[in-house]
Each structure stands twice: as C-alpha cells, then as structure tokens.
Symmetry: C2
C-alpha cells in the first residue's frame, strides 16, 4: 500500500449525516455535522480526498423512506453524493495515489472505497468541475434522456424546463445541435436571457413573470414535439395542453414536488396523451452506464468545438452544504450546482 | 335511385339531440327528443335505417366543448353515435338498398349519409351486434391498443380495468391468447366471476369490495408489465405503485373522470414512470383505420375458434337512450352496451 502525507489540517474527516427525515424542505435539524479521524484503507480499499461534490435535485428523494430507484439514505448515515476526488492512499490494484476519480463519495472530506462505482478521470481535457456536470451525470442524463427517450427529429420543437439548470442547459443545447427549435422555461429574466443569448435557445419563457400557456402558444406555433420535464407540477400540466401529435414527454424529475408534504400533484391534463397520441416516459440514467463513454466522447467533442457550453455554480466550503443544497429548490442556482472543498486546484 | 317502402310506422325519424352541455352526469334537460319526417336522400346520398346503436364511454367527452380528437357535438345537433343499419334508399353508387352498413349514424331511427366513413358489413359471419363490439370499434380499440401500444410479451402480466366492459373483456382475452398472465379489475362479484370463469382471466379484483393495492400485490407477484387503463382516477394511481421495470401503460380512457365537474384527477404517482423506467401512452383507434380489416380477420378467427367470446348488453328502444347511456358511468353494463331499435332481425 502506498500513501501520501495528509494535507495540513486533513487528519479530520468532516461529514454531513442525515439526522432525520425531512418534512418538506430540509431544515438544520435534519442534518448532523460530525467529524472523525481520517480512516485508513484496509484490504483492497483506497482513500479518496474529495475535491468537488455534486449537488443534485434527486438528493431530496434519497432522504425519503420508501421504494425508489436507489435505497434511501439511512438515518445517521453520511449523505449520499457524487463527487470527484484524488486517491491519497491505495491498497486497490486498480487505483494508485494521485489518480483522479469520480464516484458516490458522500458529503464528506474523505471517502473510503472498494472501487465499485468509481471511475478514473483523465484530467486535462476539461476543468475538474465539468466531470460533475457536462461530462458527468447531468451530461449523461441530458444526452440519453433527450436522444434515447425523447428522440427529437431535426425541425421539431423541443421544450425543456429548469432550462438554466445542470441538465436543462445541456438538453437545450444538444437539441439545437440536432437541428430542433428549442424553447426553455426558467425562472427570472437573467436566466432567460442567458439561455437565449449565451446558449442559443430560440426562445425562453420566464415562469415567474409570464403566463406560460400564452407564451407556449407564442413560441411553439407548431406545438411541442418533445418536452423534457425536470419540474413536474403546474408547468408539466400546462405543457400537456400544447402537445403536438405523437409528442414525447421525458420524465427526468419533478423538482417542484420534491418538498411537498403529502402527495405530489399529478398531471391533471394527462388525457392529452390520448388526444395527441403522445407518450410520457421515465428513465434512470444509471441504466445507460455501458454507454457513458460514448456519450462523454461526443459531449467532449461538442465542448471542444465550442458548440456546447457548460455553466457551473460553485460554492466553496463543506460547511455550507445544507444551505447550498436549498438553492436547488428555490431555483437560486445558475447552471450545475457544485460544492467545492479545500484543495480545489486538485 | 332505388328505394323500398318504409316499414310500418317508419315515416317518422325520432332523434335525440343535445340540448345543453352537461355539468357532471347528463340529466334529462341536457337532451331533446324530437321527430321529423324521414328525410329523402338527394344527390349521391343514401338513407340508412338504424338497427343498433353503440353506446360508448367516449360519448360523454363529445358533449363537452373544447379541443379533443373529434369536434364536440353542437348544441341542437343529433347526438353522435356509431351504429349498424340497413340501406333503405340509395342514390349512392357504392351502396344499394338492402346493404348492411356501419357508420356514425347518430342517435336516431334514420340517417342520411354521403357514404363517407360508412363501411359495408358482410352479414352472416356473426350476430349483427358483434359488428359494434368485437368486430367494431371496441374490438379495434382492444386489438391495437393492447398489441401496438402495450406490446405484451408471452409470460408478462397484463392488468386491465373496466375488465367486464366492451373493450376490457377483449383486451384480457387477447392478452391470454398471447400467452400473458391476465388480471382484470371490475366492479362487483358477478363481473369478477364472469371474467375468470367465462373469459379465462387468471384473476379478478373487485374494486368495489377489495383493497386494490393489496389485491395487485397478491395477483401480480412479478408486478405489472402492461396496464390497459379504461378508468383513470384512483385505480390508475394504484396500479402505478405496482409497475414492473419498463412497464407500458396504455391510456384508452378515464371513465371515472368523464363526469367530473372541475379538473380531472391526475395520476399522483406518475413519478413511478421514472422509478420503473415505464411509459404511459395514449392512442386513438381511428389512426389504425387502414389496418381494421387485418384486425377484424384475426378477431373473427379467434371467435370462430372459440378462443374469444364477446358479450353484449342490449337494451331495446330508442326512447331509452338517456338512461341507458348512464349505465356506462355507473358501471351497470355488462359487456358492450348497445341500444337496439325496432326491426332488430335486420
């Protein structure tokens, strides 16, 4: 086993643990900020110093009890999160000290891993944070959700909600690359300007100040062929009134409903699926794991060509995790939300 | 132009017209029972004596204003309905007196038609009422909805609601022919016994007396691969909790919601589509018109082999239209609901 000396002050592993199952939005008492000595890898394990942590809307769902596509985080456990980090000690034959890796390292300074679900990162191709956004899960989610589930055809109209978010910004740009008319729904003038002026969307709808139904009529004269839904709730219901025949609705998330107390709001207008011969389909990005490399290669090519931009909203400091996570649910983040730890230079 | 003498007492054409748009269930004042002299065909038209009228859940939707897959019935117009009848006068080159035909003849004794949407019937293969059920729209709906949209594979579990209704009884039997495990949801012990004992379903769930969620757990140990939904509402929501991975939900109707005042109930549990990588898809049977003959041939073959049964619930008398239609929404009908007029022998 090889190891490198712990950085100054790094003998302590700080951790955010789930203290209670939230009712609605997570509050301070739902979390416990604890610390323990940095653990030593044993057997075939390696120790990873976490550099950046991905904050995802889906994390709210992982905090609930009940059946989902992954088991819930247990009370008292370190909160689950995907991150990028550097191997600082290794007894694992596949990883050596100094390697950059991504994996579900949790919301903590250091993680012990047996290598399962850990992917090496060849640094240099992109800033490290992009391995948590366009070259990470949001990129994979946008790529496979739009192209495999939504199946847009050049000339069709694609609408995406949370359009300035981690996944939404990529969905819209990929749809543009594929020759579609793209309309983004986002909250606030700044985000709307950004997706049109910087990302090249054809139009934006500010759900906070506009009548979304009227705006869809204006911006989608040929109705909506593909709707990539990140938000659920009232916006999903409104888009259902504007579907084109044989439309595809990609169910990626329903962030407007994650903090509901009581049942989620179902799409009242779902019978539009019959009237418009349309389908609504969900997916889980993990199912595409065997094709991640293919997607990453194509996304990296578009990044290199300047056809694709990726915006990250980076907040520094593990200690700010609880309030930073809440930015997702108030819509305060701009692009992919990332919590950076010390040692950001990687 | 050829014609035959009108039958005794047939100089009057009785008609049910839409008098007002219903709020909730249609009531007496929503209808007007009028009569006029039997019209004479002119130009290329022909006159059809209606023999049997198909009563369909979708008729309630046609009475509402607003965008749907067909225009609404106008106030004062004869209520739209599909029927089977005999040509009694014809100036149309394609139809001669004595021909049996199906078409949207409306809720009346006689209809004038220019032949558009009118299909000749080769009588003798089956009782006339079956051309409005297994060999008519319910048959086409079950066949294409199940096979083209639901795409069941032998060994999979298929669940159908309104399982003793016109479409449901056929969906379940076709799924059995295709080698699936079939569970029907119906209201009342008699219907449940019927679909199991007479139609060969593997199990039935009585939604009026059973806990549907618990019964689905019992009868669908491998969860639900295809759900053919005729009812919407709470039952759709419950089946969503029991989907298998990559399940298909066929949206055929939502009869539990047709008489709602105010918005329909949306499927609160629709995020199961994501968790289970499932899809929910609507269809309109008219889109399959070019393949009706193919389906009718296969369905007739199954009927002849005794592999498929068709049950019709026949009520005699045009004058009983309003109260007979309501049987659909209270679940009082047993199989395909048909209103028969005089001259039933055809």
């Amino acid at each position: 086993m090889t190891s490198i000396p712990a950085p100054l002050g790094a003998s302590i592993n700080r951790q955010w643990r789930l203290a209670a199952r939230p009712q609605g939005l997570p509050v301070a008492t739902d979390w416990a900020f604890s610390s323990e000595p940095v653990p030593e890898p044993t057997g075939d394990e390696c120790l990873v110093r976490v550099l950046h942590i991905s904050l995802d809307p889906a994390m709210r769902g992982w905090m609930n009890d009940g059946r989902s596509y992954v088991p819930p985080v247990g009370i008292g456990e370190v909160m689950r999160a995907v991150g990028i980090g550097r191997v600082v000690a290794s007894a694992h034959p596949g990883f050596k000290v100094g390697d950059l890796v991504t994996g579900a390292f949790g919301v903590q300074d250091y993680a012990i891993t047996d290598g399962r679900g850990v992917t090496p990162v060849v640094a240099g191709a992109a800033p490290l944070t992009q391995y948590l956004s366009v070259l990470g899960m949001p990129g994979m989610t946008a790529y496979f959700g739009l192209l495999d589930v939504g199946r847009p055809v050049a000339g069709e109209t694609v609408v995406v909600s949370a359009a300035a978010g981690a996944v939404g910004q990529l969905v819209g740009q990929i749809a543009k690359i594929k020759g579609c008319r793209v309309v983004g729904i986002a909250g606030g003038l700044e985000k709307c300007r950004f997706i049109v002026d910087e990302l090249g969307f054809d139009a934006a709808i500010d759900y906070k100040s506009e009548d979304v139904r009227a705006a869809l009529r204006e911006h989608c004269p040929d109705r909506v062929n593909v709707y990539f839904d990140n938000v659920g709730g009232e916006i999903l219901d409104t888009v259902l009134t504007r579907l084109a025949r044989h439309a595809r609705i990609v169910i990626c998330g329903s962030i407007s409903q994650y903090n509901n107390q009581g049942p989620a709001r179902g799409p009242t207008n779902y019978m539009a699926l019959l009237v418009d011969r349309a389908r609504m389909e969900g997916f889980v990005v993990f199912d595409y794991a065997k094709r991640y490399a293919e997607a990453a290669q194509e996304l990296a090519g578009w990044l290199a060509d300047g056809r694709l931009k990726s915006v990250e909203d980076v907040v520094a400091g593990l200690e700010y995790f609880p309030e930073t996570l809440l930015k997702l649910y108030s819509g305060a983040n701009f692009g992919k939300l990332i919590l950076s730890l010390g040692d950001v230079a990687g």
